[in-house]
Amino acid sequence: MNEKELQKLSRRAFLGFLGSTGLLISVPGQGLSAIMNTKEHGSSALFAPNAWLFIGQDDEITIFCSQCEIGQGVFTVLPAIVADELDANWQKVRIRQAPVSSEYKDPVWESQVTAGSASVHHFYTILRWAGAQARQMLIAAAASTWKVPQRECKTRSGRVIHVPSGRSLSYGSLARAASSIKPKRDVLLKKEDEFTLIGKGLPRVDASLKINGKARYGMDVRLKGMLYCVMKRPPAFGAKPEDIELSGVASVSGVHSIFQVDDKVAVVTDSPFSALKAAERLKIKWKGEADPHFDDKKIEKILRSALKRKGKVHTNRGDIERAERESALIHESSYFLPYLAHAAMEPMNCTAHVTGKKCRIWAPSQNQSAVLETARKETGLGPRDIEINTTFMGGSFGRRFEVDFVSEALKVAKRVKRPVKLFWTRGDDFTNDFYRPANASFIRAGVNRYDHITFWQHKVAAPSVYWRIEPSLLEDGIDPSAVESIHNSAYSFPALHLEYVWLKELVPPLGFWRSVGNSHNCFTIESTMDELSHRLGMDPLEFRLRNLKSHPRAARVLSVAAEKAGWHKGPRKGQALGICQHFLVYTYIAVVAEVSVDGENGEIRVHRMVAAVDCGRAVNPLIVKQQIEGGLLFGLSAALKEQVSFSGGGVATTGFLDYPILTMSETPEVEVYVVDSGNEPTGVGEVGTAPAAPAVANAVFRATGVRLRCPPMTREAVLTALKESGSKGLNQA
């Protein structure tokens, strides 16, 4: 998601990033109702100044995390921001998943959702404010107890200290007194050099739970009297059950009920094994598939012809004809990218219990507001009677933004009137994903004799992600995600013509896949930049730097990555280096990949990836590194191996055999350098994913002279390309 989309998703303005040097800030509308709604901790909550924390008499501080822990580390990063401004003793802090309540909505998106690499970026100021407000009230309480001026007091590690006398009181012992202090909206934030937790790289608070098997994921929810549900799903898009043959199921014990739910058949049993077994034995005749001939060949045909079609113009800036005349070189290339799956390790699931008066949900969902909305729609109950418990999530990468599995669980729960855990098989997960769209792109670009880009013509042909998710975001038939990071690239394109062809005939359902449109556009732009530098006979790093004059932060990460990777020293023998940069979710990243290519079997070995990232202030540098590392490998997995296949009008990819992902032996060494520019903190979750593929493709080109424009860069693809070019896979470029 890009900024324009974020702004449009928003119904009120972001409170604004207010700087980080001791400013007085004011945050309106932070109430207490969310705390009061969660009953478990009412008794010890003596002091609850705002929705984000409470302090008990035992000195224990509880901090709420509005965002969901999907693996990206928010349970550590966000509470540490509150705790720092509060001057809390981190060892005494407890972190709780916030309930679903308006206080916890993302201030930009006005929705309780964890997405778009936005958690730190959007919540940084609010969380600092929340901690600072509480701290100020504790100081006021202590000063009034001691009958001294507040300015004589300071705080440290969970205590207020009266400096002249050396007396001190713990936050817990001040909790009762502080709760009668009137909260102030205007509070003084710390100066950056006063931070004790921000920027320090705290270890993850969830690591121990996860290492010891104690973290509770959606799949781990266990309720008394709970039933289990697996669904039989249509094998082709648009198909519905025509005839259900139950005879095979008769021998399966523990079957509670079997019934149709929309275009699926629910199998409800008393154990997960029975559910799987019964679903397997259930024979269903389907009818009404939308297009039985929809398959990979058809997709390829549509993509190949798409670039000849006229699209809608998103941007038409500058005078292309004039720029053409000023160009010493004009280069054209086309790229084709496949459908991709999310393949999170924990299959989709949701547990629900719906009675006439109450609805309880346990969901590994990153989209709480959508879960609530779905529950209201399905049950007709009001928000007070809907309880939503967010569990840990076994990965998501955008898949758990969707709430299809929540809706299914609610429908089944309503029918069986008992708690029910609905879970998907791995096959369900692959065949019912909301995929990263396939894409065909054409770029035509010119460079003048000073090696400056003169014009950039870019046509993107792809189906629309937003058409289903939020059609109001389509402007004049242009999907904003399809063109993101082109019109706002860090490169200076004096003349830009950007066009989008909406491929409506590509029917597979689409969703947000880690880095969304950046996953296409970073590949095509950065491949083309490399092609241009090669045509110019110029160093790819130098050519990029020359065209990044208006983005010094991009130039800086590029220089750092190049230096750390030994760009100027060159690769080790038999290997080649590829470089790229990208700007997304307000963060700058540059990556150098070191690869070798086996000319005999076509295998690309990625030996090392070196990344430099500028995400402004790194609130937790350890987690920034971890996210960039994970993001790079997620992107590398797709670049080398991943593609969803279609046949007979449906999805042919049904498991990890059909959709192999990166394994340990294929994993390169990864080095991540955090370039702290001191700017406002911005996103990291999606940042590593987009640049992985172009870094590798550019390195492969330098190793072989072969340009791979259609990921995945499998052995077969490499061999075919080598054969066509006559290259033997050695350093020829």
């Binding site: 996860k210 840990f392 076994g394 990965g395 498991g655």
Partner: protein, 149 residues
């Protein structure tokens, strides 16, 4: 009635002997640290140790573990060098695959206390991680291998 041992505890059960071990552990014994990821033996999230060997508990039926000694993630103390190494190297992101990774690593070190990087790759290659923690897993195994047991 099938008897076997889980984390040193004797279990007697008359559940359907065809039931995969992963469901016995998770549903009957409440040991939800063992994860269900694919049910096809392809992801490794459900890896447990059976009589010293790393096994996919989704591919073993209850009848296959008659009298066997099964160890799950819950049966490994948090002070175990492998778990400590996992913590020190900051391995988990989403964490879903990690119990399986840890159990596979412990079984490996049980047979080969000082594995080479190639041996680690070979053994761990079938345990998938979608978050990309492989390098940290490898470093944790190498770290644990250096520690006296």
């Amino acid at each position: 009635m099938i008897k076997f041992f889980v984390n040193g505890r004797k279990i007697n059960t008359d559940t359907d002997p065809d039931t995969p071990l992963v469901w016995i552990l998770r549903e009957e014994l409440g040991l939800t640290g063992t994860k269900w990821g694919c049910g096809e033996g392809l992801c490794g999230s459900c890896t447990v140790i059976v009589n010293g060997n790393a096994e996919r508990s989704c591919q073993l039926a209850l009848k296959d573990v008659k009298s066997a000694r099964v160890t799950t993630i819950e049966g490994i103390p948090s002070s175990h060098p492998v778990k400590v190494a996992w913590l020190v190297e900051g391995v988990p992101e989403c964490g879903y695959c990690q119990p399986g990774q840890i159990m596979n690593a412990i079984a490996l070190l049980g047979k080969n206390p000082t594995p080479s990087e190639a041996q680690i790759n070979y053994t761990m290659d079938s345990n998938l991680c979608r978050c990309g923690t492989y390098n940290r897993i490898k470093r944790a195994i190498l770290r644990a291998a250096r520690k006296p047991k």
